[in-house]
């Protein structure tokens, strides 16, 4: 279903939120240049000698993280960092500049894709977000690999025959570098949670030790048992979420690269290119699987939390409803009946002396009794409208129209009956929306649309009132959202100040 329902506090981009000033901007650009350069130098340390592309090209990850968290405007820092990092001793100037162009373009493209495709929350918080990271990174890396390989070719650093291998190595190197650094930066950027218990610290320590030991063992042993590292990666993802997963993957990658560049372990094979390929693939696969698992865990925890909160709200909503019924009975019918009993008592006495006056009193009493009957009927209707059960949503909405003090236009109504859960939720959404409009909107007209198509009941209730309605905690609107979401549906509130209020809901419904 649509994602409009869930809003997380935005974790990005902090520099965007600060007041703009040239000094701050300059500091940001220089910082990015420095970090990029440091990333490149670290990358060179973990590399086979020669002008071939890196196993894992870390600067691309540094760049994407910085632009994603800080703002795309800092891109000149990439140019500085990349120009500084180029090894001009082995590269013709033209090829070096071409490479730089490709690298900058890569980071910017990947960042823009990432921002465009993940609109709310951290990309690491959902499996889809992890997929988006992979796609963005792969697309950016393809640009860089293409431009870079072409630059090398035009500078005659490589021959035409080497092009496919260089492109592949470049692409995988950049992609796996980004897959290591970007999640690491995103996961550890947010403030750390407080108050770990002793047991938690011990577990974290044991996990880290386990990751180090197994990663080194698995990537050093001559027996091909690289997969042996996965149990600890899974442990990290399951128990320590995004942070555990990203750190464990990074540690594993460091050992994998370190060992293969020292010509040991399962990834060290006959040729350097093939060693590169196996290492890069291992890192990419380990990163993606672990991150997906961590994202699935995060998603599950988030759903569990929201579910728990919504259950509590439903319980308190039902308590509130009972309190309201008690109040209505106490202040309404009960009061009238008490008054009536007294009136009848008086009438009996008066009847003996002045039959004429007693008749008038009794008539008055009858009127009062009729009011009590009306009140009880409305109360019973409010508790659960019988017409909804007996005739379905369409008739129940007509009945709401009859009860509304603001004219209601039923623009569209479902033609047949739906399953009772959908009808009930749909009815209360419209009833609450109309009640809200009557209480707060000052509207002169309400339009209701209800249409059931392809297993979904779509509702829209729009008024022409003052707008500015907000979904406060404990409000009827929040209760409606809970009702809608409990059945797998969604609710949207559009209420710009001065622009009327529009409530849309989608509720899974089957024809009955």
């Amino acid at each position: 279903m649509s994602e409009f329902v869930y809003h997380e506090s935005a974790e990005r981009p902090w520099l965007d939120r600060l007041p703009h000033s040239p000094v701050r901007y300059a500091v940001g650009v220089v910082a990015l240049g420095g970090l990029y350069y440091a990333g490149a130098k670290t990358g060179y340390l973990l590399e086979f000698s020669g002008p071939v592309a890196a196993i894992v090209w870390l600067p691309v990850g540094v760049g994407i993280s910085f632009l994603y968290l800080g703002g795309v405007a800092y891109w000149p820092g990439l140019v500085i960092g990349d120009l500084l990092a180029n090894d001009y001793s082995v590269l013709p100037l033209g090829s070096a500049l071409g490479q730089t162009c490709g690298n900058v373009l890569e980071v910017v493209i990947a960042t823009l894709l990432l921002r465009r495709l993940v609109k709310h929350g951290s990309p690491l918080a959902s499996v889809r977000g992890v997929g988006v990271i992979a796609v963005s990174v792969a697309a950016g890396a393809a640009v860089s690999a293409t431009v870079g390989a072409a630059s090398l070719l035009s500078g005659s650093v490589i021959g035409f025959g080497e092009l496919p291998t260089v492109w592949r190595t470049w692409w995988l190197g950049d992609a796996s570098g980004a897959l290591l650094v970007v999640p690491l930066a995103l996961a550890w950027y947010a403030p750390l949670p407080q108050g770990w218990s002793r047991a938690r610290w011990l577990e974290a320590g044991a996990l880290l030790a386990g990751v180090v030991a197994l990663a080194d063992f698995a990537t050093r042993s001559t027996t091909p048992i690289a997969y042996a590292v996965f149990p600890v990666l899974i442990w990290a993802a399951l128990r320590f979420g995004q942070r555990g997963a990203t750190l464990a993957v990074a540690v594993t990658a460091v050992f994998a690269v370190w060992n293969v560049t020292h010509y040991v372990g399962p990834f060290h094979v006959d040729s350097i290119t093939r060693s590169l390929l196996t290492t890069q693939l291992f890192i990419a696969v380990a990163a993606l699987t672990t991150l997906s698992l961590a994202a699935a865990v995060t998603e599950r925890e988030r759903f569990a939390m929201r579910l728990g909160a919504s259950r509590l709200r439903l319980i308190s909503a039902s308590d509130n409803a009972r309190r309201r019924i008690e109040h209505d009975l106490h202040d309404g019918a009960q009061l009238r009946l008490t008054w009536l009993a007294q009136r009848l008592h008086d009438s009996a006495g008066i009847a003996r002396r002045e039959p004429q006056r007693a008749a008038a009193l009794l008539e008055e009493a009858e009127g009062e009794l009729q009011l009590a009957i009306d009140e009880l009927r409305e109360l019973a209707h409010g508790i659960h409208p019988a017409v909804l059960v007996d005739f379905g949503l369409t008739e129940a909405l007509k009945s709401l129209k009859l009860r509304s003090s603001i004219p209601v236009e039923l623009v569209e109504l479902p033609s047949g009956r739906l399953d009772s859960a959908a009808e009930t939720v749909g009815y209360y959404v419209v009833a609450e929306a109309i009640a809200n409009a009557q209480k707060y909107s000052g509207a002169s007209a309400i339009q209701v649309r209800a249409a059931a198509t392809r297993g979904v009941l779509r509702l829209e209730i729009a008024d022409d009132g003052v707008g500015g309605a907000a979904e406060r905690s404990g409000s009827g609107l929040e209760g409606l959202r809970d009702r809608a979401e409990a059945g797998g549906g969604a609710l949207e509130l559009l209420s710009p100040p001065g622009g009327g209020t529009r409530i849309r809901a989608e509720i899974p419904a089957s024809a009955a």
């Binding site: 009927r377 019988a386 017409v387 005739f391 007509k398 009945s399 129209k401 039923l410």
Partner: protein, 219 residues
């Protein structure tokens, strides 16, 4: 003499209604039943003029009264039905009139406190006519006051439309408004033309057309 069978599951209500029925000269209460099956078999056995029944009773406590009315339309078309209901909802009345409104009345339960109202309903139904509780019609009319269709009518015409929807005959409308029967007929013709309703001399079909119009559906 109108022979009546009563269907009502609540003891209190049954006693109350019985007392009111006994006070009406022209009515004979033949039997009282407290659930749908008992009521159905009793009605088939004694073939009364009118069945006076609660809308809900065992077994399902939903709309037994209306269901029985629908069955009787086919099995015993001569038997009239007055449904007593706590729901002031037009949907129930419309559902009662689904196979035609003749010999059918939809009354709110509190109406039985008034002997005359109950007697009138029983008589209308026994005479083959129909009746809808005025409170329901009032509700429909007041909810449609801003409606462009009703705007076309004069207050007098609106009043008459409401009375038509209640199932009143021309004579009865003329009496309650203190005008001639001829004047009522003229008004009715005018109303039906202006609302673009199919003109119909038959009072029963007229009730349904008026109700349908008031509930916002086309006749």
């Amino acid at each position: 003499m109108i022979r009546v069978v009563l269907g009502e599951d609540s003891f209190l209500a049954r006693e109350g209604i019985t007392r009111v029925l006994e006070s009406i000269d022209e009515v004979e209460l033949v039997a009282s039943c407290s659930d749908l099956d008992e009521l159905r078999s009793t009605v088939e056995h004694v073939e009364p003029d009118v069945v006076l029944t609660d809308i809900r009773m065992p077994p399902t406590n939903t709309d037994e009264g209306i269901r029985l009315a629908g069955e009787l339309r086919h099995s015993l078309p001569e038997v009239g039905v007055v449904v007593l209901s706590q729901h002031a909802e037009p949907a129930y009345a419309m559902s009662l009139f689904e196979d035609g409104s003749s010999q059918r009345a939809y009354l709110l339960k509190e109406r039985v406190k008034d002997k005359d109202e109950l007697e009138r309903a029983l008589r209308e139904v026994a005479d083959g006519r129909s009746m809808v509780d005025p409170r329901i019609v009032d509700k429909l009319v007041s909810a449609r006051l801003s409606d462009p269709g009703l705007d076309k009518l004069t207050p007098r015409e609106r009043e008459i439309l409401a009375l038509i929807a209640e199932g009143r005959s021309n004579t009865s409308i003329a009496e309650s408004l203190g005008i001639t029967k001829r004047a009522v007929e003229r008004h009715i013709n005018g109303i039906f033309v202006r609302l673009d309703l199919p003109e119909d001399g038959d009072v029963n079909r007229r009730v349904k057309a008026a109700l349908l119009y008031l509930t916002g559906e086309t006749a």
